[in-house]
């Protein structure tokens, strides 16, 4: 029997601690849309998406109302376009991005991911066309998200792609300079990218997925922080136990929503992504959880250990609450999307170098970090290479989403709006060049999986 206390606690988690389901993402395979004629291909893509996801948004809203749990986003991920459109005889996939944009808007989702290529070992013609199309595609569309996987533990790192992606990030920033380089906020560069991630901007429908699937991403940093406020004097065993119990409750809500969405839409349930996803709203921050553990500011010595504990306890608690777990599953540390991270950067406690260390123990990587507009392509490539190496060696997903904002310097602040938040320009302190290193190209070989020291 449900007690009044249970009811009030759950509703307090929702109203005061901002518990929500961050996203219901429908994965849609576009492998059956292939056609040599790009116009025909775009028509096929548009038709398949609008038919498959016709009721996605309405269903999400119905579930939201019935259970009283906010479901913030309804989204779509598709087969990486470099694969689906590989047969097209063309030198630009921008029209495909435009078709995705139209289809996503038609069904009312707020993002559609999958303008992507998986090139950890090498490029096909379609992969090259896609990568070269990214800047224009992100500049001419509103809701399309792009990602490139350029490394993996099994294949190593494609350094030719690392070099090119530094330039692509710069070009994307340039083409969207009147929107504070917003295009770069829709572009993620991965190592070990999962094919069932429901979160943007890195979501795509993996090649081993079925025709359609429902993946759900939960959230709830505010709930975890509130729970930790109750164990102020507890040791780390108590801290970990408290996080596990909270993560369990959060994930059970996600599982309920996923099950309902899957049943109502007649689309198989894929996974729950256990990530703690922050927003720029006060009380919805991962950084503030770390500070609640006793750090004066996020970034202080001890931050990596605190994050490691948080990330691990969230997974342990969440695993039992869901029948299938996948995606990125961990704590996110996007700077501009987390009020506590923004504050830590502004007070000089958090640097790119510390964030890089933090990415060794959490999901996902250097995320939503605005840097000076004149940061060189080679430096961005160097940052990408470092992050990919962390992922490759540690057998985990890592990613880079940096935004070199044209005309902006350290001391300036950029506003992206909405959940993308705002960010002070983060200094890249090391000004020495990576040019000759990045210019080598080729592949970094896959790492040995024994002698792990």
């Amino acid at each position: 029997m449900i007690t009044a206390e249970d009811v009030l606690e759950t509703n307090r988690m929702i109203t005061e601690n901002k518990l929500d389901v961050r996203t219901i993402t429908m994965g849609i395979s576009l492998r059956d849309c292939a056609h040599p004629n790009i116009e025909k291909f775009c028509d096929n893509v548009y038709d398949k998406i609008t038919k498959s996801a016709e009721f996605l948004v309405k269903t999400g809203e119905d579930i939201e109302a019935q259970y009283g749990i906010p479901i913030i986003h309804k989204r779509i991920s598709v087969t990486p376009i470099a694969i689906a459109a590989d047969a097209c005889k063309t030198d630009s996939f921008v029209p495909v991005a435009e078709a995705l944009d139209r289809a996503g808007k038609e069904v009312g989702v707020n993002f559609i991911g999958g303008f992507s290529a998986l090139v950890e070992k090498g490029f096909t013609h379609g992969d090259r066309v896609l990568i070269e199309s990214i800047p224009q595609a992100l500049a001419t569309t509103d809701i399309v998200c792009s990602s490139v996987n350029l490394g993996s533990t099994k294949a190593g790192i494609n350094m030719d792609c690392v070099k090119r992606m530094g330039e692509i990030v710069k070009r994307t920033a340039e083409l969207t300079r009147d929107q504070q380089a917003l295009g770069c906020a829709k572009l993620v560069i991965f190592c070990n990218a999962p094919g069932d991630n429901p979160f943007m901007a890195g979501a795509f429908h993996g090649v081993s997925e079925g025709d359609r699937v429902i993946n759900v991403g939960v959230s709830g940093p505010g709930v975890v922080k509130h729970a930790l406020e109750g164990v102020k004097n507890g040791d780390f065993t108590e801290v970990a136990e408290t996080i596990k119990k909270t993560a369990f409750k959060i994930t059970r809500v996600g599982q309920l929503v996923a099950r309902e969405a899957s049943r109502r839409l007649g689309v198989p349930f894929g996974i729950i992504d256990l990530s703690l996803a922050p927003t720029p709203a006060v009380g919805d921050s991962v950084a503030r959880i770390l500070e609640e553990m006793g750090l004066e500011a996020c970034g202080a010595p001890g931050t990596t250990a605190a994050l490691a504990l948080l990330n691990d306890a969230v997974k342990k608690g969440g695993l039992m609450a869901s029948s299938h777990v996948g995606g990125l599953s961990g704590a996110f540390i996007p700077v501009s999307e987390d009020e506590g991270m923004i504050n830590a950067v502004e007070q000089g406690s958090l640097s790119i170098e510390k964030l890089e260390a933090m990415t060794c123990v959490c999901s996902v990587g250097l995320d939503m970090i605005a840097v000076e507009g004149d940061t060189s392509a080679a430096t961005i490539s160097g940052i990408i290479a470092d992050e990919a190496a962390i992922g490759m060696i540690n057998n985990k997903t890592t990613a880079v989403r940096v935004i070199p904002v044209p005309g902006k310097k350290v001391g300036d602040r950029v506003e992206f709006g909405g959940l993308l938040g705002y960010c002070p320009i983060v200094p890249v302190r090391n000004q020495y060049s990576s040019e000759a290193f990045i210019a080598r190209g080729g592949r970094i070989p896959a790492p040995i999986r024994s002698l792990t020291n």
């Binding site: 449900i2 009811v7 009030l8 606690e9 509703n11 109302a65 009283g68 749990i69």
Partner: protein, 90 residues
Amino acid sequence: MKLVVTIVGKDRVGIIAMVSNVLAENQVNILNINQNIMDGFFNMVMIAEMSDTGKMKLPELQKILKEKGAEMGLDIKAQNQEIFNVTHNI
């Protein structure tokens, strides 16, 4: 479907009467009521059952309760009980 109806607001005469009336008019059966007054604030958690096949659907009931609640300065929520089951029972 089992519903949890929560009512929060400043105490006054006729809150339970109003909510019970709305539920009765719409064929919703009350199973349990837990109510108290704290610092002049009225808190009530009610568990009720509505037919899945009846004419009245949850979104309409939520709308009526919200409007009637607003007239009396109350915040009234009606939610499917399952959300509380998953957060508090294994």
